[in-house]
Subunit: 387 residues, 2 copies
């Protein structure tokens, strides 16, 4: 691959997708002196606002992908939706896709993921592919009966494409979507954990501390790093599991393994192969952020220390609420707490949309939680008080 | 002022000048969700590489300044070289220049600075305007004789426009430049200190800890935060002096006061009204970086906590050396020290040019110094060892 002409001759990295993950990659890339060539869904999307000359186009179009990858030795992603056949084509033409299509498959298709993890002996909820309501009833009958969880094998995220099935009628709704459906037992979990690792093509792995993730309406809402009062052996088990999955699946970049903590140990819930919402705390809370380590990993540079800088970090998502202009939240939030870290993504506000996050860190978990919740709640318009 | 159409309706900030300071402002602006409209000296300069649609043009041209300021309520700066009459014109047309021309004057002209600081009773080296070699000899004779320091009142930086005068012949060289010349006593200093404060139009001030700055060939090379073994009263005096100067001169944004520490206290050496090399440690070492606080100040948002996050932070500049491609230094530097923070500015390497910096932090100053010096030295090609 020829490299682009830029003053430093650093390699240019192609990034597919212009969401907030690409935006935060750009912040890290600016520091590293690595130029980013962005393929954005539209001229005004989150990352397109903050890079030079974004290419606006469709990531499902191979010619567009070729255009953005030209002069880039390495291609990486804001999301997991690029068609695998296009990734294989780019790879064959000398643009290393990281993670590669053979790995991304397991983040794109929940059936492939479950089948492979089961083969690896990784702990999963009981699961089966189901074709109709009768299959669901059969699956339920083997266990404790309904409820069970149905998921489309492809395309679901943030609670979309997931059905919590209490009655056969609920199941019918899932099949009405026409998608291929996976059934999973409903896990009686203590809490949700997330294990993030960065892995480079050379095989180096850096493991972030296990964090606790709290959902609201199926969307990650709050992350506490590290997971409070976690059993040491369980934390090590969860980190080792994530490292093993990253290695066996040949993931390059960040792998997030979302897990259920149960009384019997951990079960894998989901995989994501890109910087992940449960790792946003690392921007302010870790020595090396997940975004910088994602870039270092895909560029096959040595990884940075993922250790936390403070005893506790809490990240709370800012979800679009009743406040029209997020910027107007700054005077109150910043004056009230001069240590709070705010990240806004340049996105217009829609109810429930992730438009930013805040991070607080410190020695006292209750204090850190309270500060982060207050700031995020203020931006969302959930709190009223005299400023 | 009408605000630009952007998805969040956050105000757009105009930044004049596309050097590394503007580049690092952009990193902070991305986090805050504040769009930057950049006027760059050329299409490939440091900051122009990392913002959307930079305007390339001449900051000495009023029409160009008007073009970049259009739709921006606030204008700020990467450097202090914009002609004051243009700033007054922009101000009059409703674009708040921060800092304003009435303050910037004191960073642009060393005579004006010395006269004003003397009026304020701020401690300065003995000084006088000199017109010829005879004036210099007269100035020297009042004190301890030669050597004395001559400086052009305008346009000098990083050791340029400064003459260390040991003989009348040395002085002749300064006058040959044709510039207006200021004479200053040669200060017998213990070390150089720097006091950074951020000040908002509302008058809020945040003071960073006093740091020690070490020069090499007239260029800031190494910064230790906080200044080791500094007398507590001296540190408070230096902070209060910087706060007082910022307030009296009505500085908005970052003010850096470079000082000499002498056996009798501190003397003001230089003023800079923009983020400053002696504050780069704050990106990784402070709760709020000088770049974020500069933006918060010029946007009149409440300021962030400037306190350090670690006991010691050391920043070492990467000066252009024998290594052609800085990126090639990454494998060694990152593998040797997974905690080192590297910032490359996207600049081509020329001997002595500031092309990046590294920051190390931790509890043990000797260790932190050694790590930062090694990394910067490696990038500059000054160190050879087996990786």
């Amino acid at each position: 691959m020829s490299e682009p002409t830029n003053p430093t001759d650093a390699p240019t990295l192609a990034v597919i997708g212009g969401g907030q993950l690409a935006r935060m990659m750009q912040q890290a890339a600016v520091g590293l002196g690595v130029p980013i060539r962005l393929l954005a869904e539209g001229p005004g999307v989150s990352a397109a606002q903050v890079v030079r000359d974004p290419l606006v186009g469709d990531y499902r179009d191979l010619a567009t992908l070729r255009e953005v990858a030209a002069d880039c030795a390495v291609v990486t992603f804001d999301h997991e939706h690029v068609p695998p056949e296009h990734l294989r084509a780019l790879d064959a033409e000398g643009h290393a896709c990281r993670p590669g299509p053979h790995a991304l498959l397991y983040a794109q298709d929940k059936y492939e993921m479950r089948a492979r993890l089961t083969e690896l002996g990784a702990p999963c909820p009981r699961w089966a592919l189901v074709d109709d309501v009768a299959d669901v009833e059969k699956f339920a009958a083997v266990g404790d009966g309904l409820p069970v969880v149905l998921k489309t094998t492809r395309g679901g995220y943030d609670g979309k494409g997931v059905w919590f099935v209490r009655t056969p009628e609920d199941a019918a709704e899932a099949f009405a979507s026409g998608a291929r459906i996976l059934a999973e037992e409903r896990v009686d979990f203590v809490r949700e954990l997330s294990a993030l690792v960065a892995r480079s093509p050379s095989g180096q792995v850096a493991a972030y501390p296990i964090v606790e993730s709290r959902q609201r309406d199926g969307i990650c809402h709050e992350v506490i790093a590290p997971a409070p009062a976690i059993d040491h052996n369980l934390a090590v088990e969860a980190q080792q599991l994530a490292i093993r999955i990253a290695s066996e699946l040949d993931v390059v970049g960040i792998l997030a393994v979302e897990m259920f903590e149960t009384s019997a140990g951990v079960l894998v819930n989901e995989l994501a192969m890109r910087p992940h919402n449960t790792g946003h705390w690392s921007i302010d809370g870790a020595i090396t952020s997940q975004f910088e380590n994602h870039l270092r990993a895909v560029l096959d540079l040595p990884l940075g220390d993922p250790a936390p800088r403070s005893r506790w970090s809490v990240m709370v998502n800012i979800l679009g609420g009743t406040v029209g202009r997020l910027y107007d939240g700054y005077p109150h939030v910043m004056a009230r707490d001069s240590r709070i870290r705010v990240h806004l993504y340049g996105k217009s506000v829609r109810p429930g949309r992730k438009v930013g996050h805040v991070t607080a860190y410190g020695d006292d978990l209750e204090d850190v939680l309270t500060r982060a919740r207050h700031a995020a709640g203020w931006f969302a318009g959930e709190i009223e008080e005299d400023a």
